[in-house]
């Protein structure tokens, strides 16, 4: 089990979708933390609290992009990924991106 805090281990200022435009992007976060864990079948807990806030493009690319990049189902993502936040709306938002990406992949 791996524990990642976006604010502590990545940045307090997550921004942008693609890593070509910045190393605090959703794509950079996905490639650095999420993809390696899920590729190796390791369970990972991601704490979303403590940042200045998230744009939808960051969250969609980080979490929805996981389904696209690894060609996995949302169910597989949920079996390995545990999300934590004191804001339930943020958790719902991330889940919507994972589910939407799953629907588009099929």
């Amino acid at each position: 089990m791996q524990n990642v805090s976006v604010a502590r281990d990545f940045t307090r200022f997550p921004s942008g979708r693609f890593k070509k435009n910045g190393d605090t992007s959703g794509e950079a976060f996905r490639e650095r933390f999420l993809e390696p864990a899920l590729r190796d079948g390791i369970e990972i807990t991601v704490d979303l609290d403590g940042t200045i806030g998230y744009g939808s493009s960051f969250l969609e690319e980080a979490f929805g992009g996981l389904v696209r990049a690894l060609h996995v189902t949302p169910d597989y993502v949920y079996s390995k990924l545990c999300l934590r936040s004191t804001d339930p709306a943020l958790l719902d938002e991330v889940k919507s991106y994972i589910n939407d990406a799953g629907r588009r992949e099929n």
Binding site: F13, F18, S25, G53, G55, S57, E93
Partner: protein, 158 residues
């Protein structure tokens, strides 16, 4: 005083005390519920005002050159509005109305920050572009749902 009179007096006193306690409790419950409803209505008003101000910030961001300070301000505002809306569930019984507010705020966040935001902002877009219209529509919907939530606190009597 006869024993019967003592028992009668005691019984009457007991009934009076129990009656007072019941009325006091009911009145306390009514006052608390009134305060709760007023608090929800006030919060709904404040959130309506904030989302109204937010609309011009969001429209201005997308229709002007990229402004990194505005991006932080937009993310902070959205996080604050979303968290305050979610926290209303602690004191709000009208879950259907509150759910509509939450989903409207999420839709607003997606339309404002889902594309043409941060690294994807590659120059201003026109006021008439679909994204700007979508942002306006989502904010107006959120405002309407906050108003419904407020009105729900004071339904017409009868």
């Amino acid at each position: 005083m006869a024993a019967d009179d003592v028992i009668k007096t005691f019984f009457q006193a007991t009934v009076i005390v129990i009656g007072w306690v019941v009325v006091h409790r009911l009145s306390e419950k009514r006052d608390r519920d009134k305060a709760r409803r007023e608090m929800v209505a006030k919060a709904a008003d404040a959130l309506r005002d904030e989302i109204t101000k937010f609309l011009s910030v969001a429209r201005n961001y997308h229709t002007s050159d990229r402004d990194i300070d505005a991006e932080d301000s937009i993310k902070i505002s959205l996080q604050d509005i979303s968290a305050r809306t979610s926290l209303l569930s602690d004191i709000c019984k009208d879950s259907a109305e509150l759910s509509l507010c939450k989903s409207a705020i999420l839709a607003t966040k997606k339309s404002v920050t889902g594309s043409h935001f941060e690294d994807e902002h590659n120059g201003p877009i026109a006021q008439g572009e679909q994204q700007v219209q979508l942002i306006t529509a989502d904010v107006l919907r959120a405002k309407r749902y906050y108003l419904q939530l407020k009105h729900k606190q004071f339904p017409p009597s009868g």
